[in-house]
Amino acid sequence: MQSYNLTHLKELESESIFIIREVAAQFENPVLLFSGGKDSICCLHLAQKAFFPAKIPFPIMHIDTGHNFPETIKFRDEIVKDYQVRLIVRFVQESIDKGRVAEEKGFDASRIRLQTTTLLDAIEELQFDACIGGARRDEEKARAKERFFSHRDDFGQWDPKNQRPELWNLFNGRKRMGEHFRTFPISNWTEMDVWQYILCENIEMPSLYFSHKRKCIKRSGMILADFEHLPKREIEIPEEMTVRFRTIGDMTSTGAVESVANSMEDIIKEVAATRTTERGGRADDKRSETSMEDRKKEGYF
């Protein structure tokens, strides 16, 4: 007897493809925000599936903080060729040079918050009306309240208390001039779903996710990769460690985990056994109880 039930991964995939097609159908000028991390790679893969055998009908955009892992940039440039998409890059450094934002100072300085201005400027410059992002609701408590189609006013701001109700599979992407939407096709996926899917689909991943040796420092319970722009206190002496990254972001704030997992299967085992969230290693979220909500209201991803 044939069973007409999809597995959870197939059902999630189908939902995400539906959302991506809906974005392409409802908006004139969408863009996929690409960070080089697993979630945005997953979105890119789903976009390829959504429009096959045609090419992906929108470009991808990377907001480069200037503090990216070199591996990320290399991987990004390769993936652009594989998926035959157009890549747009905008630099936080340019926003700093133009005086749009001021660099943070001190040991814990980060360019995470500065990205928002660069992103909003790029949206305005290139007239994007929808940004597709790889944010997931299980990542962070403010993101748990996010819609698939999330409205942004003409300042790019999110108003979490006044969101449009989202019913069935009917998505309302109507907006006024100057407003835009953030859309999140993998909202319902968990970290585990993403890894299981990557394994099932055999999607290539940046080497940073796999165990490797690297010079690191330890800072308030986090392991940070040492690199030239990282301000270090005298006592913070880099030492070689065997690590991998659970998320990939800016080098100043993405914590590594000590791990020997160097295959997809090992990573899935590690994710299953782990007792901390993946963003537990993100210094940007530890600034306050509601730092993600505050950043998102301003227009962050």
Binding site: S14, E22, F52, D138, W168, N169, C200, A272, A273, E289
Partner: protein
């Protein structure tokens, strides 16, 4: 959790459920308990809420803080918006839509309910059935959630007494018998202490039913999808216009009903042209059949002009077609529903305009009485209305198909989603 490490996840199922209840019935605590006892809460999350609980001077670790994420929610100790939470057992992955119980936020319950397989409705054992309990039950049935589970919570505060549970159960049965509910369950729990949530209660020997998690894990998800009536709303037309796929013209969309196979004779609406399915494509190849809720691309044998908003169906099983539509509507906006008002209406992948011809009656959600004299439809009200659309809709009754039977109304001035409609 190590079970997930194997290949077990390759045949896991997905169950979506929603939680509803009055203010302070303990919804967030229940979800916190499910996540905590099923080990879906991580150490750093636990430490963060322990810190926050101590800071607020609370006696117990406040599990509600796991779901109340927004600043205002934490400050006021309430849930404002639908929060989505995830956990998994070796058998199933769960998506929870945690919806607030405040009367002014009922629109969130409708949102959470629209995609749910199951609803958990919480009742405070001390207070019994409240106005909100009736409202939530009514909404759950109106939205055709196949399974309803009443959790009589805070049993610890009524000394775990069986009589109290039976009394509330009787009242609930009485109320829900007036409604079209397919499957109703009742269970006594204490979310705060964990009784009958994941672990069996040692204090309620008299209860021999399953725990909540056992039920969630094993309840038969009688396929919510209609596998009989073939419905494929065209979402996007794929034309690669490349050398390799020069003449390719595929219709992308998500199957809304029925089972489609290559070779099937089909009809395209509104044109009425017939053809047959050449192939059902997915990335990298073709498949032999497609069923809900799969996202696929269909190609046809004949060149027909088809665009977004059209629907591919079987000739011998047609949806209703028409411009006069009867709806049960849940109003979601502060701005009242205007009789003779014009709205944008979205149905499957089609967008049209509509005129509200008549407000027939408002439903008193506590007594289920029809109020034919009351035409003032404000936020959270449920009413029977009829609309006329600018173009025909290809639709089914909502009770027959939740996808082809649902619409939203959009205010043309503010672009807000103001109404959720179910086709009668």
């Amino acid at each position: 959790m190590s079970e997930f490490a194997g290949n077990g996840y390759l045949d896991m199922e997905l169950l979506r459920f929603t939680t509803a209840g009055s203010v302070d019935d303990g919804k967030s605590t229940l979800i916190g308990r499910l996540l905590f006892d099923s080990k879906a809460v991580f150490q750093d999350q636990m430490e963060a809420i322990e810190r926050a609980s101590i800071q607020k001077g609370e006696e117990h670790v406040n599990l509600a803080l796991l779901t109340d994420g927004l600043r205002a929610e934490r400050e006021q100790g309430i849930t404002i918006d639908v929060a989505y939470r995830y956990f998994a057992t070796p058998k199933r992955k769960f998506i929870i839509a945690d919806t607030p119980g405040h009367i002014q936020y009922t629109r969130n319950m409708v949102t959470g309910a629209s995609t749910a397989n199951l609803a958990i409705i919480l009742v405070d054992a001390r207070n019994g059935i409240m106005e909100q309990t009736c409202r939530h039950t009514f909404i759950a049935t109106l939205l055709q959630i196949p399974h309803i589970v009443y959790c009589v919570n805070k049993m610890d505060l009524v000394d775990y007494k069986e009589e109290r549970f039976l009394e509330i159960k009787k009242g609930l049965k009485n109320f829900s018998s007036k409604l079209d509910v397919k499957d109703v369950r009742f269970m006594p729990i204490s979310a705060l202490h964990g009784d009958n949530v994941v672990m069996r209660s040692k204090k309620m020997d008299w209860y021999d039913g399953p725990t909540l998690l056992y039920l969630l894990d094993n309840i038969h998800i009688a396929s919510d999808h209609n596998l009989v009536d073939c419905r494929f709303p065209v979402q996007y037309v794929i034309r690669p216009q490349s050398k390799e796929h020069h003449d390719y013209r595929g219709y992308a969309g998500r199957i809304a009903g029925g089972i489609f196979k290559p070779g099937d004779k089909v009809m395209v609406l509104p044109s009425g042209f017939t053809s047959s399915i050449k192939a059902i494509d997915v990335f990298g190849g073709s498949i032999e059949e497609a069923f809900p809720p799969m996202s696929v691309t269909i190609t046809l044998e004949d060149d027909i002009d088809i665009s977004r908003g059209d629907m591919i169906v079987r000739e011998n099983n047609m949806p209703q077609t028409g411009q006069d539509i009867d709806l049960m509507i849940c109003w979601l906006s502060k701005q009242k529903l205007a009789e003779r008002g014009k709205y944008t209406l979205r149905h499957t992948t089609k967008e049209v305009r509509c005129l509200v011809k008549e407000i027939k009656y408002k439903v008193d959600v506590n007594t289920l009485h029809r109020m034919e004299d009351d035409k003032g439809i404000g936020m959270n009200d449920i009413a029977r209305i009829s609309v006329r659309t600018t173009a025909p809709l290809f639709h089914d009754k909502y009770t027959r198909n939740r996808t082809t039977g649902s619409v939203i109304l959009i205010d043309e001035a503010t672009n807000e989603t103001v109404g959720a409609g179910m086709i009668k």
